[in-house]
Amino acid sequence: MMPDLGKYADVVLASYVVSLGLIVVLVVASVLRSRKAKADLQKIEARLKDGA
């Protein structure tokens, strides 16, 4: 299954690991921040609705 990368195996694999790793970090960070912002906003909106 794994293609034969020859003598360049380490740099090719490193490229994919680094790139995908960075993308995953970015996506996870964005999603987590989005969840937090959404939850915070909902809490405030719910509280304001109860108060009103």
Partner: protein
């Protein structure tokens, strides 16, 4: 209704909420297709061996690094001219993505260059330009986070983006000139020619199609991320606005 209705924060969130699932799925599909196709099912290049597989990451990320800055420039102009808050926030949301793309382009470029040049880093004009672009991203992000007042921050970063764009183009020419001046006709220039757009003209279709799919995946991923991050910025601002209203009454 014009396109500007999407500049309304509520409309923006409602619309993007509908689009986001589709965009995310499409982005993952395209990225997976392009990268798996490229990684497993393309032959090695006769000259560069298996390092050619880096192209599926390097070229799309480099394209995005530049295009995201252009998108920020357009968004900044829209903010300056029409003062739509969503526009300013979209520029803010895009900057970290652009910085990440620049890092990916730099890292893959250096990794690609290592077997070709025998060293991790060469002050090749293209790599150097991306390093400078990365500095611009850093400055832009830092200025956004340093200023408390939101509108002031949006104004100042927009102007920085405009001025920065001019200087980024100047740097590009300067760097080109600088290295050619040093290494006229030297091996570095030829080695430098294998990265980036010069390759695109030479790459055969075997490499080009998976790369194009991967590039499409990068674009879709960027759009999805910008939507998500802009939503976050809008929600944060809305939460703050609600609290401010509560305190003022």
């Amino acid at each position: 209704m014009s396109i500007w209705k999407y500049a309304n924060p509520v409309t923006f969130i409602r619309t993007t909420d509908r689009l986001l699932p589709w965009l995310s799925v499409a982005a993952v599909l395209c990225l997976a297709t392009g990268l798996i196709w490229g990684f497993f099912f393309t032959p090695d290049d006769f000259r560069q061996g298996s390092t050619v597989k880096i192209i599926y990451l390097h070229v799309p990320s480099a394209l995005m690094a530049i295009n995201i800055w252009l998108m920020m420039l357009v968004a900044s102009l829209v903010w300056i001219v029409r003062r739509h808050h969503v526009s300013a926030l979209a520029a803010r949301a895009a900057a970290p993505i652009g910085a990440t793309m620049t890092v990916i382009a730099l890292a893959t470029g250096a990794l690609w260059g290592q077997p070709m040049w025998g060293t991790w880093w060469v002050w090749d004009p293209r790599l150097t330009s991306f390093l400078i672009l990365f500095l611009f991203y850093l400055g832009y992000i830092a200025l956004w986070s340093a200023i408390e007042d939101d509108d002031t921050a949006a104004d100042l970063t927009s102007i920085l983006c405009l001025v920065g764009s001019v200087f980024a183009i100047l740097s590009r020419y300067a760097v080109n000139f600088w290295n050619q001046g040093l290494h006229q006709g030297a091996s570095v220039m030829r080695a430098g020619a294998i990265t980036g757009s010069d390759t695109e003209e030479k790459v055969s279709n075997v490499f080009f199609y998976p790369m194009a799919v991967s590039a499409l995946g990068f674009i879709l991923l960027f759009v999805a991320l910008v939507f998500l991050r802009t939503q976050t910025e809008i929600r944060t601002r809305r939460a703050r606005a609600l609290l401010a209203r509560e305190q003022s009454t």
